[in-house]
């Protein structure tokens, strides 16, 4: 399942530039490439402002007119970028659906849960027939009773609302399901329920899942593969076990060290010194170099490329593994 084979969702060289007020362009996402197969669960990890959410929003075509999106995005081999607003709208929810960050607020407060899911259900194929049954089925899929359909969002707990958002996202059985920090602001027990709901929903519909989180633990629990993002770029990608146990990029290693682990409760948590780069600010050399404990000569001047480490399954954007030998004096 390397990035060279065609998956269900194929993202190649995704580039997002935001035109800012002063005429300066902010390069928010650079050359992001990944591929997710049908039924596969792919994670995007990174600190706030690293471009995870922007990446998802560009896949949905929901960035404003100020944003320029370049590269290729294919669903089942069909290019969806630049296919026109009408076409993008048609694909939303029926082919690619999303569970938003803080989905507690992503439900309309004055409309019942059932009507909101039913409205989403009509976006898919075979609309009209058995909408009620489909609403009840997806609610059941995420572990909620059918009677929840008659309730209003404010009558549900945060975790229930989040599960409703997941149910709503899979009601049309999309090919690709995006989830943006679906468990942020939930306590650990509820978090586990929501993740289970997400896994069940994907397993049932065979959707390719892209899960965005800053939490290594959440990604580790759900995903098969993941990509680590830093400053708008993917700095490492590979199977989740590899990332957790043999990280190639210093940033990945620091992220793993910064997450608590059940197997080693006494371990002191590391923090990463410094702050992430301001979104969209261009830099010479590696974006992580100023905070990197392992930086050496070329890091400040040459930007590393994303290249295979050990096997083709793992790739890292770091000079430690691919020193720019030919350019060294």
């Amino acid at each position: 399942m390397s990035t060279t084979t065609t998956g269900c969702l194929d993202v190649r060289g995704l580039d997002v530039t935001l035109r800012s007020g002063e005429g300066r362009d902010l390069h928010l996402v650079r050359d992001v490439t990944f591929s997710v197969g049908s039924g596969e669960r792919f994670g995007l990890i990174g600190e706030s402002g690293c471009g995870k959410t922007t990446t998802l929003m560009s896949l949905m075509g929901l960035l404003g007119a100020d944003a320029t999106v370049g590269g290729e995005v294919r669903i089942d081999g069909t290019e969806i970028l630049g296919s026109g607003e009408r076409d993008v709208r048609r694909r939303r929810w029926s082919e690619i659906a999303v569970v938003f960050q803080g989905a507690m607020n992503s439900l309309n407060p004055v409309v019942t849960i059932g009507r909101q899911i039913a409205e989403a259900a009509r976006r898919g194929a075979g609309s009209g027939s058995g909408v009620r049954e489909r609403v009840h089925r997806v609610l059941e899929l995420v572990g909620l009773r059918a009677e929840v359909a008659r309730r209003y969002p404010h009558e549900l707990s945060g975790g229930m609302r989040q599960r409703v958002a997941i149910a709503m996202a899979v009601v049309c059985e999309p090919r690709v399901l995006l989830a943006d920090e679906p468990t942020t602001a939930l306590d650990v027990i509820v978090q586990a329920q929501v993740l289970t709901a997400l896994e069940n929903a994907c397993a049932e519909t065979g959707a390719a899942l892209v899960l965005v989180s800053h939490d290594m633990g959440v990604i580790g629990e759900v995903c098969d593969r993941a990509a680590v993002m830093y400053g708008g770029e993917i700095v490492e990608t590979g199977r989740i076990e590899t990332l957790l146990h043999e990280p190639a990029h210093p940033y990945t290693r620091l992220l793993v060290d910064a997450s608590p682990r059940l197997s080693d409760p006494g371990r002191e948590l590391a923090s990463i010194p410094g702050a992430p780069p301001r979104p969209g600010v261009d830099h010479a050399g590696c974006g992580f170099a100023p905070r990197c404990p392992d930086r050496f000569e070329p890091c400040g001047s040459h930007g590393p490329a994303l290249l295979p480490v050990a096997t083709a399954l793992q790739q890292a954007r770091c000079h430690l593994h691919h020193p720019p030998a030919e350019e060294a004096p």
Partner: protein
């Protein structure tokens, strides 16, 4: 039944509020300079005896507290007293005034709502575009103009084309119902337009800002992500939520309009509640003032209650919260 209890408590609160307003008005009018007898006896032959006789007749020779208790006794029997000026029961005078005011407020409000909310929705939906700047500028400008000035400008522009004052043409003899309504409509147009122009600005500003706020809410993004057309998202998801603050404002302003179109009714000689308030103050006609201000108070309180009721129909959060408490 919990909702019934809520309604009961709201009504009781409204009753107390009205009593407080009535009491305040009663003493305020009597403490204000000038009195009805001076106003009426300021005729050349006004003798001392006439003044004393009028004072006794109006019950103004009694201590103020006795007058107040008598007034409350009357009020509790639904009797608003007799006008000092035209010696008709205040209730009859007021009913005439209310009947005359309703079409004015109704049409004025309709103009204000259509213009105000429509413009507010457009401005909010096209935030930052020329139509938004235009709408906000126009709304702020109109809202800041004095009502009587707008009325006079309209009079200046349309005098000759449309009647300039009164409610009906005095020289229309034995009109058919259709003729009567057409005549009423012609008289109604200018004052109602003035009222609409005075009121719509605040609706536009409130509607626009709540529209802008709603459109940036997460559930609107969800609706867009579901692949619905912008217009559908606006209509089905943003509009109902954005309407909530405006409903409260409209409720508040209708109440104020019923009694408060004073300046407009004076400019256009419209024989409504506002005009009655104005005339009764000039004459220091205490019973009429008390009655007219009571209408004013009751309409503010009543439309406030109605706005709350409408709000709870639109917003399930208020509905359940009210029932639970």
């Amino acid at each position: 039944m919990a909702p019934l209890r809520v309604i009961g408590r709201r009504l009781a609160g409204a009753g107390v509020l009205i009593w407080l307003a009535v009491t305040f008005d009663f003493f305020l009018f009597r403490l204000a300079p000038g009195n009805p007898v001076d106003q009426m006896s300021r005729i050349p032959q006004g003798s001392r005896q006439l003044q004393d006789q009028l004072t006794r007749e109006f019950g103004l020779d009694q201590p103020m507290v006795v007058q107040y208790v008598r007034y409350l006794e009357q009020l509790s029997q639904g009797n608003l007293g007799v006008s000092f000026v035209n010696r008709q029961p205040v209730t009859d005078n007021l009913i005439d005034a209310i009947v005359n005011t309703l079409p004015l407020v109704g049409l004025g409000l309709l103009i204000a709502i259509v213009l105000g909310i429509g413009l507010g929705i457009l401005a909010g939906a096209y935030r930052g575009r020329p139509i938004d700047h235009g709408a906000v500028t126009l709304a702020t400008f109109m809202y800041s103009l004095p009502p009587q000035w707008i009325g006079m400008v309209l009079l200046f522009l349309f005098a000759g084309t449309l009647p300039t004052g009164g409610m009906v043409d005095q020289f229309l003899i034995d009109p058919t119902p259709t003729q009567y309504l057409a005549d009423l409509g012609r008289h109604l147009l200018l004052p109602a337009l003035t009222l609409g122009l005075v009121m719509f600005g605040q609706y536009t500003l409130i509607m626009r800002s709540s529209m802008v706020e709603t459109l940036s809410d997460d559930y609107v993004l969800t609706a867009r992500a579901k692949g619905f057309r912008p217009r559908y998202v606006l209509r089905r998801h943003a509009l109902r939520n954005a309407l909530l603050p405006t409903v409260t404002l409209i409720g508040l302003s209708i109440g104020a309009m019923v009694g408060g179109a004073i300046l407009i009714e004076v400019v256009f000689s419209w024989p409504g509640v506002g005009r009655t308030i104005y005339d009764s103050i000039v004459a220091r006609d205490y019973p009429m003032m008390q009655g007219a201000f009571l209408v004013f108070t009751v309409s503010v309180v009543l439309f406030n209650l109605l706005a709350d009721a409408a709000y709870s129909l639109l917003d399930p959060r208020v509905r359940r919260a009210g029932a639970a408490r």
